[in-house]
Amino acid sequence: MLTIEDLYVKVGGKEILKGINLHIDEGENYILFGPNGSGKTSLLMTLMGFDGYDVVQGRIIFKGEDITHMSPFERARLGIGMSFQRPPTIQGLKTRDMVRLCAGGKEVDVDQLAQEVNFTGLLERDINAGFSGGEIKRSELLQLMAQRPSLVLFDEPESGVDLENMSLIGRITRSILDGPLEPRNGVSMKELKSRHQISGLIITHTGYILDYINADRGTVLYEGVLCCVARPRDILEHISKYGYKECVRCLS
């Protein structure tokens, strides 16, 4: 699904990512750990193709295509979707209309989707206007549900979310990544199966999200370099016991 080869990225003139190699299979959920400032968000922003993240070396291959220099909308149309940590407010753009825009040309039942993320009451609000932490997460998920990307980039799905919201967000994240838990009316088996091919790259600090999703592999980003690949639970355990410094030394 996604291959990153020897990627060097500069942000504001400073080298932030220093030779990243990463491969994510179809249907695989990949967890990204790392201390604050290690470059996790920068990696996602680079994958999405935003201005200011200058690839100075290396390539990004998505579904067999070199997307290293594509614009964000072309990547989105190819199937990359991102959940933003601090999305901007857009005045006068109702959440309902935003969700419809996310669907592109696809048919979408906004009210039905909103119900699933408990967002019905907020559909008429301007997107992100005064949203709480949990509301931002749910709105981002709602948009991804309409967009239906084949690779989902999640930047800390659990940050700023209370426990009650966490279980909802965990469940929805899982349903976006794995398809719905049970077959629903009107969803064909073929569609269910194709949803299983959805991949995820998920940044987490706390690991709470691991209680909800099946994650096969994880890695640690430390000062712009990926240090190890291991089972996410094992990485989490090492970090909580020894901290990042030790963890990097121990696992590499």
Partner: protein, 393 residues
């Protein structure tokens, strides 16, 4: 310093325009108009079929050509007929606007070509809007109109008025006097669409007086090119509990000079005023003054002036608040800026290309939705937005 020069208002030379001999033959039905004229009128918000309207008034150059009311409870006349019929309308004619305010009011007082007179009956709730259009065809036409709207006690009225020129007009001047009176418990929603032309000068003078518990909502949409427009409609909330709201959307392409402001005077307890202005320049100049004056308590006023400079141009927002008694609550919010790159990227990450993203943000900024316009008017506004967007990006 050349920038400052650009900021200067263009002067109107009254002697350049013809105020005579522009009388036009009347028509029974708007569908008799040429296809081209119908298109201009539709763009300015006119419903040619008149099915969704309670009355219509069309003025071309120097005379009325069509005028009728189709619902009980509302009277629509040409102002000249109304002056004859009601002995010169002494309580209303030149009672809100000062005849000697400036050279334009004096010119309009000297020679009147027409204008609408709309009056509701007491308690009448007029379901569909009354529509009017002030239309200019031909070159160097000077048009003087005088409009009066009277909303009697406890009645409700919506008026949609469009001002436009035929596409071949090279140069014209429009002087419009408007005096609105809203009686106790009455409500007027007045929506004006201005589609002038590159060489048209416009000097409207508007005053609205609102009595106890009356409501005045003024929507103003001006997105097409104009040479120079200067207006500063004022509403006086003179009765307890009266409400006034101005909401304007102004777009200035290169060559347009727009000086368009609003004034609300809170003269009685429990009055509320709100001014919302959204301005966009793509190369022209917009001066947007706004004033809320509080002379009674309790009274509340809020004004919001926001401007977007898309590529180049000037936006000069001048929010003013004046309180003359202790206890008034007045506030304002003003900002002039550009579209945030972060907002564009957010939308691009959802699959919109840069142009789609920009136009989505601009539409949101203009926020036409909150005006609550009738659907077919909303549709024609959307069409105008589409047309102007071609020049925006």
């Amino acid at each position: 310093m050349s920038q400052l020069k650009k900021d200067e208002r263009k002067r109107v030379d009254l002697g350049k325009y013809s105020f005579d001999n522009g009388e036009q033959p009347g028509i029974k039905d708007l569908r008799q108009l040429s296809e081209e004229d119908r298109r201009q009128l539709t763009m300015a918000g006119m419903d040619i079929s008149e099915t969704q309207r309670s009355g219509s008034y069309l003025h071309v150059n120097h005379s009325k050509v069509h005028c009728k009311a189709t619902q009980k409870g509302v009277e629509v006349l040409d102002i000249k007929e109304a002056l004859d019929k009601y002995d010169g309308l002494p309580e209303y004619y030149w009672q809100a606007v000062d005849k000697d305010k400036d050279e334009f009011t004096r010119a309009a007082a000297e020679k009147i070509h027409g204008g609408y007179f709309i009056r509701t009956s007491k308690g009448a709730k007029i379901k569909h809007p009354v529509q009017s259009c002030l239309f200019i065809k031909g070159d160097n036409v000077g048009q003087n109109v005088h409009n009066i709207i009277i909303v009697e006690e406890d009645s409700e009225l919506q008026v949609i008025t469009g001002c436009t020129t035929s596409s071949n007009v090279v140069s014209a001047l429009h002087l419009g006097i408007s005096e609105f009176y809203i009686k106790k418990g009455g409500s007027l929603t007045f929506t004006m669409v201005h589609n002038w032309g590159r060489e048209v000068m416009v000097r409207p003078r508007t005053v609205c007086i609102v009595e106890e518990d009356g409501v005045f909502v003024n929507n103003y949409i001006m997105m097409m090119p104009v040479s120079s427009l200067q207006s500063y409609p004022a509403v006086f909330l003179n009765g307890r509990g009266a409400t006034g709201r101005f909401h304007s959307i102004l777009v200035a392409p290169e060559g347009s000079h727009i000086d368009s402001g609003n004034k609300i005077v809170l003269n009685a307890p429990d009055t509320r005023g709100e001014i919302i202005a959204r301005t966009i320049t793509t190369g022209g100049t917009i001066i947007a003054p706004a004033l809320i004056e509080g002379n009674a308590v309790p009274a509340k006023g809020h004004l919001e002036c926001k401007g977007l400079i898309l590529s180049k141009g000037i936006i000069h927002a001048i929010p003013e608040l004046k309180g003359t008694v202790s206890g008034v609550e007045l506030s304002h919010e003003a900002a002039v800026g550009k579209i945030a790159q972060q907002e564009i990227e957010y939308l691009m990450a959802r699959g919109l290309d840069e142009e789609q993203a920009t136009s989505t943000i601009v539409r949101g900024f203009m926020n036409v939705d909150i005006m609550g316009l009738p659907p077919e008017l909303k549709a024609s506004i959307d069409k105008t937005i589409e047309e102007t967007e071609k020049d925006m990006f």
